[in-house]
């Protein structure tokens, strides 16, 4: 049993769930305390000890039956239900039909399914040993069932029933037989699906790790595959913790402000006015942000990760208002405030594309103009304005005058640009002009650069 649990933990790790050694030891202790006889209790004790995030429940529910399942439901014996004469008739009919379907028909009628080894051999024949992605499971299962002859089963069965009828088996007995065979067929299909799922999960666990979060951090956003993005999302969570600790430390060091006489007198009333505790005014180091994010498809990953960062770090930021632009500016703060960060970014995208169907080209200048009309009050002397965009304006007016004015009103204007410096100014890029108007520009081509830039942003320099 212990080995099985360890295999299970390996399978979960391969599926991207973080399980520590301490947690797998807890799982063992839970088994000692509660045993494994009751399946539901066993399952919830495993889940309570191994899984610590509700979003990992899905993986757990998917893998658990593969590792601790019975291997699928048992097959029934059709012969038991039949009288002796009928049994002989069935045997004879099966012999008469003999062919490559023999095995399958035997399994379905005798109630003795394929052994574990036979199943494994069949799965390998169907290509299960080359599969290490759960997405391939259905395909392999289908292939395996085909190879077993499920495709021609209907025809074979009707031949069989016909033969039995000719041999003089009663209609009632045939129907009984049909019922059992039908049930067995479903059970067998389930067994096959579990076998395939199990094998794939194990192969995935044995696959060498090729996706390391830390390596991917330096891979450009534009070159990320879907799978790599998923890995990076986990990496973001780790970075957020790091950034938060650093920001909190900075804030702690910075809290010692000017001496606060009023508060000191009040605090020391209880010592009869003897100033035992000194109070200081707090320095507000939390930045207040206005984010403007480009919503074009090419910017998807940068924007998603940026929003995730900022909204996971809400406790380190005094106030954030978020705007998204494409052809026009929209405020999206409400979407982000009411959701968890990972889902929120997707929601912003959905809302944005639902709101403006059809193809529009980026127009930052125009967007800036409508920002001026509607939301200028969001910017004051304490605000840091962060623009996330590639500065490609589709030959629209860049409105440098507005960004210059914004720079005067705000504490500072920072630009996060996903393009390298040598690409600025090429084609429809207005980056070189914007560069002169803003306080600083960070090139954010990969997650590592983005994390550094966000850290600088929180630090206030």
């Amino acid at each position: 049993m212990d080995d099985r649990v360890i295999e299970f933990v390996r399978g979960m790790r391969a599926a991207g769930v973080r399980v520590s050694l301490a947690e797998s030891m807890d799982a063992m202790r839970a088994i000692e305390a509660l045993g494994v006889t009751d399946k539901t209790i066993f399952k919830s004790s495993m889940r309570a000890t191994l899984i610590k995030e509700s979003q990992d429940f899905a993986v757990f529910d998917q893998l658990f039956p593969l590792y601790f399942g019975s291997g699928g439901p048992m097959l029934q014996n059709a012969l038991e239900e039949l009288s002796e004469g009928d049994q002989e008739m069935l045997q004879a009919a099966l012999q008469a039909l003999s062919g490559r379907m023999q095995d399958l028909l035997d399994w379905l009628t005798s109630g003795e399914g394929p052994t574990k080894e036979e199943l494994e051999a069949l799965a390998n024949q169907a290509g299960a040993q080359w599969a290490d992605n759960p997405g391939e499971a259905r395909w392999v299962t289908r292939r395996m069932l085909q190879q077993m002859g499920m495709g021609h089963l209907e025809q074979q069965l009707s031949e069989l029933y016909q033969k039995l009828q000719e041999m003089g088996m009663s209609q009632e007995a045939i129907e009984k037989l049909m019922g059992v065979v039908e049930a067995n067929r479903e059970a067998l299909a389930e067994q096959v699906a579990q076998q395939v799922g199990m094998q794939i999960a194990q192969q995935r666990a044995n696959r060498p790790d090729d996706l390391h979060g830390s390596d991917l951090m330096h891979k450009p956003f534009s070159a990320l595959s879907e799978e790599e993005t998923a890995v990076l999302r986990k990496e973001v969570a780790r970075l957020v913790t790091q950034l938060r600790t650093r920001a909190a430390m900075r804030r702690k060091r910075g809290t010692r402000g000017k001496f606060d006489s009023k508060s000191t007198i009040r605090a020391n009333q209880r010592y009869g006015g003897v100033p035992l505790e000194l109070r200081f005014k707090k320095n507000k180091l939390k930045p207040s942000l206005v984010l403007m994010c480009d919503m074009s498809r090419s910017m998807f990953h940068v924007t998603e990760f940026m929003l995730t960062f900022i909204y996971q770090l809400q406790d380190q930021v005094a106030k954030t208002r978020s705007f998204a632009y494409y052809s026009d500016m929209q405020e999206v703060s409400h979407l982000l405030n009411s959701n968890r960060a990972e889902e929120a970014a997707q929601e912003v995208f959905d809302a944005f594309y639902k709101g403006s169907p059809g193809h529009y080209a980026t127009d930052f200048g125009g967007s800036l103009d409508s920002f001026y009309h509607h939301w200028l009050s969001a910017v004051n002397g304490r605000t840091t304005v962060v623009v996330l965009g590639d500065g490609r304006n589709n030959y629209n007016s860049p409105r440098i005058d507005l960004i210059k004015d914004l720079q005067k009103r705000a504490r500072r204007v920072i630009w996060f640009c996903p393009e390298q410096e040598r690409q600025w100014g090429s084609g429809d890029s207005d980056m070189l002009e914007y560069a002169t108007a803003v306080d600083s520009i960070y090139v954010v081509r990969n997650l590592a650069q983005l994390a550094t830039a966000v850290d600088k942003l929180l630090a206030g320099d």
Binding site: R47, Y271, R340
Partner: protein, 309 residues
């Protein structure tokens, strides 16, 4: 102490807490592995209630630590009672004179005073806050650390020592280990990610909104005055609301409030009028109320007619 999972569920049931099999299993595991439970889930599904019922079921006192932003050790663990220390110094002035009466030099006085220093940093002047109370308690207790996600990350790190070793360090006194290991329940509304180190030390329990039948059982248990038929209808309405896209969906506690409101108003059926009068008990945003009213108006042909008139 609980004997087995069935015992957990039965005794929680006696405290008017209906525990699912999962809650029973995790609670029992927490006891047999002596590990804290981390309960996550939406607000108002009875996470805090579980701690209360747990404490009552095993007849232990409950100590509660409510977390908030800015909570620190001096509020969670202990504080020196400056005022009492000051007062004692004043009162003991005479005695001090005696102790210091015959010393010649200042350094002699200081060293003699230093010998007595322990008096002022003893447990007499220690003001225990919830965590220290739980650890120093002479009988085993249930410790509830409520809404841990509201506390700062640093506080979370500080909790690690308490949760894994059940001991705390007070620099002036040394390490204080728990006389009896407390049962610990942490709750979180999942407003932010908790650190992995903390999660690793806990058993994880995700409490979600209950299924319709289970919630009906809860309503029947907690509000026995409500007629069974009305209770069934009320729970059905709540479940319908939870499926809607609302800013804040009603929680179990709000279902119970609503059920009590229906009893108080002597409602005989849940019709448009009762509903529109009492919907604000369930929904806490104007937009949600409006949306729900529209939805209710659209469901069922007969109701719709009346609604439009």
């Amino acid at each position: 102490m609980f004997k087995d999972i069935a015992d957990v569920r039965e005794r929680l049931g006696q405290q008017q807490y209906i525990a699912s099999e999962e809650i029973g299993t995790v609670t029992f595991l927490a006891q047999s592995l002596s590990k804290p439970i981390l309960a996550e889930g939406p607000a108002g599904v009875g996470k805090t209630e579980l701690a209360k019922a747990w404490a009552k079921a095993i007849g232990r006192p409950l100590i509660r630590l409510q977390c908030y932003e800015g909570l620190d050790e001096s509020k969670a663990l202990y504080e020196w009672e400056y005022a009492k220390q000051m007062l004692y110094t004043q009162l003991l002035r005479e005695t001090l004179h005696k102790v210091l009466g015959d010393v010649q030099s200042l350094s002699d006085a200081a060293s003699r005073l230093a010998q007595e220093e322990d008096v002022f940093f003893s447990e007499n002047f220690l003001l225990p806050r919830p965590l220290l109370t739980a650890i120093m308690s002479d009988e085993p207790v249930v410790l509830l650390i409520d809404e841990i996600d509201r506390a700062d990350v640093e506080f979370e790190a500080f909790l690690l020592e308490v949760l894994s070793d059940f001991q705390v360090s007070v620099p002036e006194l040394g390490t204080i280990a728990a006389k009896h290991q407390p049962m610990v329940l942490l709750t979180s509304n999942n407003t932010r990610e908790l650190s992995e180190a903390l999660k690793r030390r806990c058993l994880y329990l995700y409490v979600d909104y209950p299924a319709q039948d289970a919630e009906l059982d809860i309503v029947r248990l907690k509000v026995p005055d409500l007629s069974p038929e009305l209770a069934r209808q009320a729970v059905a309405v709540v479940h319908q609301l939870r499926n809607m896209d609302l800013r804040k969906v009603p929680s179990i506690s709000e279902t119970l409030d609503w059920a009590r409101a229906l009893v108080t108003l002597n409602a005989s059926a849940i019709d448009e009028k009762t509903l529109s009068n009492t919907l604000t008990v369930l929904l806490k945003y104007e937009t949600d109320v409006a949306k729900a009213k529209r939805m209710m108006g659209n469901s069922g042909g007969s109701q719709r007619g009346r609604w439009e008139r």
